[in-house]
């Protein structure tokens, strides 16, 4: 079973020219499986945090989206306890014109702008809607506790 050229190219680019605040490196024994870290964006409650994620490219990639999951606990309305991410481009809005890089940049952007109107973690979303300052404070505490 050979690795599609596109995946090799993307890997090369991720390693040679990483996006700011994002790193992704493939496992030596499975080049479809990546260890990812994303730095919390400045100005967000996740600032100074370094979040670990796992990313897997299914057999159908790039026709099917990569599977991405947070491994670090995070208090965010669009990310649930298991680390699953509610992001349209990882589901029905996936397009083969997107790449690992664009997906990770989108996740980084999601950290900057939580969207409690389309929640995955209902309790966190409720908290964000009713008391944003308090919720952001919890996010900050979780970041300090789990992501540093």
């Amino acid at each position: 079973m050979s690795l599609p050229k596109r995946i090799i190219k993307e890997t090369e680019r991720l390693v040679a020219d990483p996006a700011p605040g994002i790193s992704a490196s493939p496992h030596e024994d499975n080049l479809r499986y990546f260890d990812v870290t994303i730095q919390g964006p400045d100005g967000s409650p996740f600032q100074n945090g370094v979040f670990k994620l796992e990313l897997f490219l299914p057999e159908e990639y790039p026709m099917a989206p990569p599977k991405v999951r947070f491994l670090t606990k995070i208090y965010h309305p669009n990310i649930d306890k298991l680390g699953r991410i509610c992001l349209d481009i990882l589901k029905d809005k996936w397009s083969p014109a997107l790449q690992i890089r664009t997906v990770l940049l989108s996740i980084q952007a999601l950290l900057s702008s939580p969207n409690p109107d389309d929640p995955l973690a209902a309790d966190v979303a409720k908290h964000y809607k009713e008391d944003e300052a308090g919720a952001r404070q919890v996010s900050k505490e979780w970041t300090e506790k789990y992501a540093t």
Binding site: R6, K9, R13, D17, P26, D29
Partner: protein
């Protein structure tokens, strides 16, 4: 499991990527240019570029595959269909030229950045170099010096054809060899390079369009070709090829077709007719996409049916490889690789009860079992197995099972 050396894989020169060029802070524009000439789906330089109704450009095959799944542009989601695909010959021209120039430009950048001044390879038509070759970060003096030295070196050779050939190959040392016309792309290629050139899908070692070939070398070309091909390619073959490539294949409505009819469609193009209905349909769909995408190339770049059939075979192999459960393959290999170890363990397990049984008389459970086994008048191998289980065991489940087995005895 299947393991690849990552470093080796990433260093593979066959995998080209915009990052082959330095970032725009060092060499402005080139990395972006290389990226702009690539399909967003496969990340390769455009093959048979086509535009959708929204104006976004993709390789024909990529667009056809994607629109078969979802009738919308992968970049902007504007709805569109396969039938509204339009070819983009201008882009194809740009990509063809860039494919030629790319290696050369890379060489030149490396030489310039390394401060090397020998660089005879830099004797390429200046037209192509002008817009690209003067990045702001590069000392202009060095560039011009390089160009001058390149020119004077090549200028020392009087023969025009020789100069062209030297330029096309990038290796001036070729000397007296003549250029020949590639039968696929019709470009002039040094004769010694023709096999490499063909193997690379006409990517390498070509620089000149057929129009530029010196007429004096024509007869030499024919000789060279007959030497290379031993007359295997007949004129009839060519005619057939040209007659076949005219019309795009229509989309088949598989719901109204019987298996046999689909097989006939495949057989008409010498394709495999094995497999179940979904496989037949997938194969035919792929063939239609491949065939029609080939027609979106300009005639001179089109592949021959035999090449397309080869691509189909590769595709089938990939699919077969992907469908197989990798674990199953691994287990068989694992068994074979570790057979000696397993045999040793089995041997030891068979011998152990003899040594083992006296060692564990203390456990009451074992005693019960042993007596049951001992009194068993049934088949020998079974009792052997129980003994072995008992020795290896200690787990409650096994003892239970053994007790159940001994029940009918008591």
């Amino acid at each position: 499991m299947w393991k690849v050396n990552l470093k080796e894989l990433l260093d593979d020169t066959d995998v080209q990527d915009p990052t082959d060029f330095p970032p725009s802070s060092t060499v402005p524009g080139l990395r972006d240019l290389d990226g702009a000439l690539r399909c967003n789906i496969c990340q390769e330089l455009y093959e048979a570029p086509v535009v959708l109704t929204c104006g976004h450009c993709f390789c024909s095959l990529c667009a056809r595959n994607q629109l078969g799944e979802k009738p919308a542009c992968p970049t902007c989601w504007r709805e569109t269909t396969i039938s509204s695909i339009r070819v983009n010959p201008t882009m194809e021209e740009a990509v063809t030229a860039w494919k030629d120039a790319r290696r050369f430009v890379l060489h030149m950048i490396n030489d310039t950045l390394n401060g090397q001044t020998k660089a005879i390879e830099a004797s390429r038509p200046t037209k192509r170099r002008k817009p690209n070759a003067r990045p702001s970060g590069v000392v202009p003096d060095m560039v011009s010096h390089q160009r001058r030295s390149g020119r004077s070196d090549v200028g020392s050779s009087d023969d025009d054809a020789e100069r062209e050939m030297a330029m096309s190959s990038g290796t001036p040392a070729l000397g007296s060899n003549s250029s020949i016309e590639c039968p696929v792309c019709a470009k002039s290629v040094p004769m010694t390079m023709i096999n490499d050139h063909l193997d690379s899908n006409c990517k390498y070692h070509s620089a000149l369009s057929s129009g530029k070939i010196a007429s004096s070398s024509k007869s030499g070309q024919k000789d060279a070709w007959s030497k290379l091909l031993n007359g295997t390619r007949s004129g009839k073959d060519k005619e057939k090829h040209e007659a076949e490539v005219d019309n795009p294949l229509p989309k088949a409505s598989y719901t109204v077709l019987k298996d046999k009819q689909i097989r006939d469609l495949l057989a008409a193009y010498n394709l495999s007719t094995t497999g179940d209905r979904p496989q037949l349909i997938a194969r035919h769909e792929r063939w239609v996409a491949l065939y029609n995408a080939n027609l979106d190339r300009s005639p001179i770049l089109r592949k021959r049916p035999a090449e397309l059939q080869l691509e189909m075979r590769r595709w089938e192999e990939d699919r077969r490889g992907a469908r197989k459960d990798p674990l199953k393959i691994d287990i068989t290999e694992y068994r074979r690789a570790n057979k000696a170890e397993f045999d040793k363990l089995i041997q030891r397990a068979r011998v152990n009860p003899v040594h083992g049984s006296p060692k564990q008389p203390n456990s009451p459970k074992t005693l019960v079992v042993e007596s049951a086994v001992g009194s068993e008048s049934g088949p020998g191998p079974a009792s052997d197995r129980w003994k072995r289980l008992k020795v290896a065991g200690g787990g409650g489940g096994e003892t239970d099972a053994i007790v159940v087995d001994s029940d009918p005895e008591g």
